[in-house]
């Protein structure tokens, strides 16, 4: 009798342990801790992530997010080395990294339009990409989205770097344009142009996304995580997409939530941050959120080949995937 009782108790304990096993990872008992580099400081641009955290989408997916503010290139290297599982980076980083053997894969498109613009004072009368011919244009450096976006814009008007004068000025585009050191500057669509207008400058803006479709900011993982834990990737993508969808549907709610995560946002004048959020939402909207357009990747590869940043074409089917997009 006693033996049967002991066996029953042990069976009961074993059943309870299986039910609480962290292997499923989708319950609230064991959250997978994900350090997520986003390539910039805490900012209203990351509202969908804050919404997804605040509404429990990540928690429901068994994920706990910790933000990391490493540089984009460092984030890519960390994911490539499997020191981190995910990062938010721009599309060209995927191709540049894969060309050097980093096994990263783009699993979710966040931005549907490339978030780079060329801004100029209205007095320069630069209203089309063709008007850039002969101009002195400031860029942070000959690397990164600002540089690649500018070249893509030039190519769309059958121009090249030889038709303009490029100035590497660091991340000082606003000051350089305000002081008339540059006739135009390559900037982030949802940042510098809004800053310049808020300071009273009359600005003309050429948005790269209006002229050419390029693979833009999105979520990456590495081949190791993709093969060993595709369920984690699926849950991460799903929770993030919910955050994006909610932000697009309810910007005011997203702004209020973001005040908890962005230092000083609650105390600041809301005019400029709300413009940044609105401008960002314009670049996120899509019929199918998260979907990576193959043509955008082909365009990005062609741009990088033309710039000489890629020596030969890559197998794009390995660079991105839509398998986790509903």
């Amino acid at each position: 009798m006693l033996k049967r009782l002991i066996v029953l108790i042990l069976l009961g304990a074993l059943t309870a342990a299986c039910g609480a096993s962290p292997a499923s990872g989708s319950g609230t008992n064991a959250l997978v801790h994900i350090k997520l580099p986003v390539g910039y400081i805490a900012n209203i641009q990351f509202a969908p992530l804050y919404v997804a955290i605040d509404k429990g989408y990540y928690k429901d997916a068994g994920i706990e997010i910790e933000f990391d503010y490493s540089l984009e290139t460092d984030a890519v290297s960390l994911v490539g080395a499997n020191n981190l599982q995910f990062a938010v980076v721009s599309g060209e980083q995927v191709l540049l990294a894969r060309a050097q053997g980093l096994p990263i894969v783009y699993v979710m498109a966040w931005y549907q339009k490339y978030p780079v613009s060329v801004a100029s004072k209205a007095s320069q009368n630069i209203k089309t990409p063709a008007d850039l011919k002969g101009k002195k244009i400031g860029i942070p450096g000959r690397y990164g989205a600002d540089y690649i976006g500018l070249d893509a814009l030039l190519y769309s008007a059958a121009l090249s770097e030889n038709d303009v004068t490029l100035d590497s000025i660091g991340f000082n585009q606003v000051a350089a344009l305000a002081a008339d050191r540059e006739q135009a500057v390559s900037v982030y669509t949802n940042n510098e142009p809004i800053q310049l207008r808020s300071e009273g400058y009359q600005i003309n803006e050429l948005r790269v996304g209006d002229y050419v479709q390029l693979a833009s900011n999105g979520l990456i993982t590495n081949e190791s995580t993709l093969s060993s834990n595709p369920d984690l990737v699926k849950r991460m993508v799903s929770a993030t997409l919910k955050g994006i969808a909610d932000t697009i549907a309810n910007p005011d709610e997203a702004y209020t939530i973001s005040e908890k995560y962005v230092p000083n946002l609650a105390q600041a004048d809301a005019t400029t941050p709300k413009q940044i959020l609105s401008s960002s939402i314009d670049m996120w909207k899509a019929n199918r959120l998260g979907y990576s357009n193959p043509q955008a990747w082909t365009n990005m590869q062609n741009t990088l080949l033309k710039m000489g940043l890629l020596k030969q074409p890559l197998d794009l089917t390995k660079a991105f995937t839509n398998q986790f997009i509903p």
Binding site: S77, A81, Q100, L102, G141, Y143, D167, I169, R181
Partner: protein, 271 residues
């Protein structure tokens, strides 16, 4: 000791012949050992090449960047910034250092700014300097001069103040003019300490030039580092870093050679 001989060469001269031969090879052995250790870590640690390339991969990248002129062009730009920054920073430090050594009042008045010039992190103010003075070579030379300035200044002041009062008394007793005191007493007496500061300044000047280029520039080894990082070309980053090390060692070696030539009289006096 023989004429123009330093303590180092004196020690070497008195070693047994076999020890002398191995002494000369020690530096080369150390470098080869370092290369082997690097290769072993790259080969067996499991680190991917974009994290830690092997010595061979870096060497191959070096040859490519040498053959297409990229390395030479960018090194020339950085070297120009270094030399201009070193010269201007040193000149300003010497002139100001002389007057500070002569005037305690002036030293106390300027000390907050002088200490601040050393204390403020250059990587923090470099972007401001690029905004104020533009992304051209001037801002890089200025950053370089700022980093060279303080160690040379301090050593100039210390060197001049280290001259014993008795020597001044002797010069005054011989009715030496101010100019004669400067050239025949103060400069020779302060030179050893000054040159020590110049050696430090010479190696720091390389850092100053690169900091400016990393913030915003079109040419230079700092630009190669930025572009290498931006395209995940880690071997290129290594090539640029090793070139910077070579520049720093060369400048240090040149100052050390100048020091040996100018201070040869010290060994003669010790005979």
């Amino acid at each position: 000791m023989q004429k123009n001989e330093t303590m180092d060469t004196n020690l070497i001269r008195n070693l047994p012949r076999a020890a002398k031969r191995s002494y000369r090879w020690l530096g080369i052995i150390s470098i080869v050992a370092g290369l082997i250790a690097w290769w072993a870590v790259a080969r067996f640690s499991g680190l991917p090449a974009f994290v830690l390339p092997s010595p061979l991969q870096v060497w191959q990248r070096f040859l490519v960047s040498l053959s297409d002129g990229e390395l030479a062009q960018n090194t020339a730009v950085t070297l120009l910034e270094i030399l201009l920054g070193l010269f201007s920073g040193t000149l300003f430090a010497i002139v100001l250092g002389y007057w500070l050594a002569k005037s305690l009042t002036l030293e106390k008045f300027l000390s907050p700014y002088l200490v601040a010039s050393q204390a403020v992190p250059l990587v923090a103010i470099a972007p401001l300097l690029v905004i104020w003075f533009g992304p051209g070579i001037f801002s890089k030379v200025l950053i370089c001069a700022l980093i060279v300035f303080f160690p040379v200044l301090v050593n100039t002041v210390v060197g001049l103040r280290a001259v014993p009062t008795a020597y001044y008394d002797l010069m005054h007793s011989l009715r030496a003019s101010r100019r004669q005191i400067l050239f025949h007493l103060e400069i020779p007496a302060a030179l050893p300490i000054f040159l020590g500061g110049l050696r430090i300044g010479a190696t720091l000047s390389v850092i100053g030039a690169v900091v400016g280029e990393l913030v915003g520039a079109d040419r230079g080894l700092g630009v190669l580092i930025n572009v290498g990082r931006g395209t995940y070309d880690t071997p290129m980053v290594f090539v640029a870093v090793f070139t910077l090390i070579a520049l720093a060692l060369s400048l240090y070696g040149i100052v050390a050679w100048i020091e040996r030539r100018l201070l040869a009289w010290q060994q003669i006096m010790e005979l």
